[in-house]
C-alpha cells in the first residue's frame, strides 16, 4: 500500500509487498538525500507533503502502471527532516518480465516527481531553498 509520512523508510518493504511467483522481475528505486547538490553542501532536507492528495496521486500512478505494464507498484515516501544518506522515497515495481518492471518503476518516479504534491527544502550551511521554486 502506498504511504506518505514521517516514519523512516525500509528499502525492502515495498519489495516484499509487490513480489509473487507470477512476477519474474522486481525493479526498485531508492532515493536518498545527497550531501551536496550542484556543488553546494546540503546539511539536511525537509520534505513537506499534502498527504491526502499525494496518496491519491501515488494510487493513480499504480493504477496506470497496472494498466500499461501489468505491473504491481508500491510507493513509500517520507516527510520531515532528513539527514544526508536517509531514504526519501522507495518504489518497487513487479512484473512478469523485466522490461515492464523497468518501465513501470521509471514511470512511477518520473510522474511522482512532476505531479505529487511533495516539496523539498534544502538546508545549506548558510541558507535554505525550496527546490523547484528557486527561492
Amino acid at each position: 500500500m502506498n504511504r506518505i509520512g514521517p516514519e523512516p523508510l525500509d528499502a525492502e518493504a515495498p519489495l516484499r509487498e509487490v513480489g509473487g511467483t507470477d512476477c519474474g522481475a522486481v525493479v526498485s528505486f531508492v532515493g536518498t538525500v545527497r550531501s551536496s547538490n550542484h556543488g553546494k553542501a546540503v546539511v539536511r532536507l525537509e520534505y513537506e507533503a499534502y498527504p491526502e492528495m499525494a496518496v491519491r496521486v501515488l494510487d493513480r500512478i499504480c493504477a496506470e502502471a497496472r494498466e500499461r505494464w501489468g505491473a504491481r507498484v508500491v510507493i513509500h515516501h517520507r516527510t520531515g527532516s532528513l539527514d544526508p544518506g536517509a531514504l526519501s522515497v522507495v518504489i518497487a515495481a513487479a512484473a512478469p518480465h523485466r522490461a515492464d518492471a523497468f518501465e513501470a518503476c521509471r514511470y512511477a518516479i518520473e510522474f511522482l516527481k512532476k505531479e505529487a504534491p511533495i516539496w523539498k527544502k534544502e538546508i545549506y550551511p548558510d541558507g535554505t531553498s525550496w527546490v523547484g521554486l528557486g527561492s
Binding site: M53, K114, A116, P117, W119, L133
Partner: protein, 83 residues
C-alpha cells in the same frame, strides 16, 4: 460560501498560515480564491504565477467553479520541478 484554503511549502511560509477559511461569493472560481489569498497575504503575490491550484485534492484549472466547503490548495512547484 466558505472554502478551506491550504498553503504548502513556500506558499505556507509566505502566507504565514497553513490553513484558513475564507468567504467567497457564490460561484467564485479557483482563480478568485487565489486572488483573495494574495490580497490577505501580500507576500504570496511574488510567487502567484508559479502556483498550481488543487480543488478537493485534484489539480484544477483557474476557472474551476468552487462550492461551499471546497478545499482549495496552493501548490508550489513540486520537488522534481527542476530536474
Amino acid at each position: 460560501m466558505r472554502v478551506t484554503m491550504l498553503y504548502f511549502a513556500a506558499a505556507r511560509e509566505r502566507a504565514g498560515v497553513s490553513t484558513e477559511t475564507i468567504e467567497l461569493a457564490e460561484g467564485a472560481t479557483a482563480a478568485q480564491a487565489l486572488a483573495l489569498a494574495c490580497e490577505r497575504h501580500p507576500a504570496l503575490q511574488a510567487v502567484a504565477t508559479k502556483l498550481r491550484i488543487a480543488v478537493d485534492q485534484d489539480f484544477a484549472q483557474p476557472d474551476r467553479k468552487l462550492r461551499d466547503g471546497s478545499e482549495v490548495a496552493l501548490i508550489p512547484p513540486v520537488s522534481g520541478g527542476i530536474r
